[in-house]
Symmetry: C2
Subunit: 231 residues, 2 copies
């Protein structure tokens, strides 16, 4: 049961070649970074070349879900791809992906141009994306994707009907080969630069929410629900 | 001169298979999206599998620059890779990459779960990343990367010295095969759902800047420079 350990096991491709002190494998840290973002960047290989697309997603336990039109490229590739040959010679349907999530938390200004940086938190997940065909798991995934953006919203909207479900592909990616990378704190200037006359420090960045804008055709009697204030 | 046209020329991989009305090729739109973000997601293929890493970058005209330690994986791959075979059979050194930038501008809440979405602006660049070896172009790129985060900052910091330059790899990616994708506006609910009792509309999202936090070891006489107020 991988869920019972506190950390993901590092693998050759989740151990960075540099800045190793910034790498982390703690599950709670990883979950927090994944849950806070709205969009991930999903990478896959098509005709030998890399493709990176932004997409919505959600985490349910140790599994990530991505959805999209059955006509979209990566989702068609997962469905159609004969996939990956396993060590035992059998074919394992699915698509090799890398799913990355990044938060930019601050601009780091150092006295030296070389030491300029950003404070950030990122998660990189490697694995094989597989199509979800089970009706119950598909419902769970689609609710989770709506609730990932606005917690509680799936209970306050019309559930997908049969036509909509047929038009929607859902893929899953297990959280198995996973790493986080985090930079915090101020600039790391060299001792000999400390007396230079340049300002040094951090400009914090954070997400800001504007007031909800009702749809033009919304009945004015329907006021913004409480779960929007929690954002 | 590709710079003299107002738009990038669509190619098979920059024309989406769906939501084509959201695709755009206008150079000014693309430049604006690229210039506003701090981090891109750089995708490449290693050992046949996709890798997507967040990284700093800057645009100079019709070229993007990414920098990093000479020890980092993609930068080593660009330097070492024999690269891509051209149609004429010659080898073209460089690394096939996909560089993607995304802004999340709002959460779109529809009456139907199926029509939930986000408002976003993204740019996807396909191409071959090549190492920059010319000293002048390297300086230009490194200044641009500092100024991309904080305009004007490269003139108010110590320029890289020979040791720092030797430790820094710079790669470039021409803006040639490029597309933007943009969603704006409210939810697109179906007519039969208009009388449902659920709130519908958009929650706007925007980047917020905190007050600059000086480094612990900063001389208190050095106050935040004017160019920080412009952020």
């Amino acid at each position: 049961m991988p869920e019972s350990t506190a950390a993901y096991r590092p693998t050759p491709r989740t151990v960075p070649t540099r800045a190793r002190e910034r790498a982390a494998y703690d599950r709670e840290l990883v979950h927090g970074i994944l849950d806070e973002a709205y969009v991930c960047h999903l990478g896959f290989v098509r005709d030998g070349a890399p493709v990176v697309l932004p997409t919505l997603y959600a985490r349910v336990g140790e599994r990530l879900y991505v959805h999209g039109s059955t006509g979209s490229r990566p989702l068609r590739m997962v469905a159609a791809d004969g996939g990956t040959e396993r060590a035992d010679g059998e074919t394992d349907p699915g698509l090799a992906v890398c799913l990355t999530v990044t938060h930019v938390d601050g601009l780091v200004l150092a006295r030296a141009a070389f030491h300029h940086s950003i404070n950030y938190r990122s998660v990189v997940v490697h694995g094989i994306a597989r199509q979800v065909t089970d009706a119950g798991e598909r419902r769970t995934a689609l609710d989770a994707i709506v609730d990932h953006a606005v917690p509680g919203r799936s209970l306050d909207s019309r559930p997908a009907n049969a036509r909509e479900l047929a038009a929607t592909a859902v893929i899953r990616l297990d959280l198995d080969e996973v790493s986080a990378k985090v930079r915090t704190g101020g600039p790391n200037d060299d001792p000999e630069d400390m007396t230079l006359p340049h300002w040094a420090g951090v400009v914090p960045l954070a997400r800001g929410y504007g007031a909800p804008v009702p749809s033009d055709d919304l009945d004015p009697a329907i006021t913004p629900p409480d779960y929007l204030s929690a954002l």
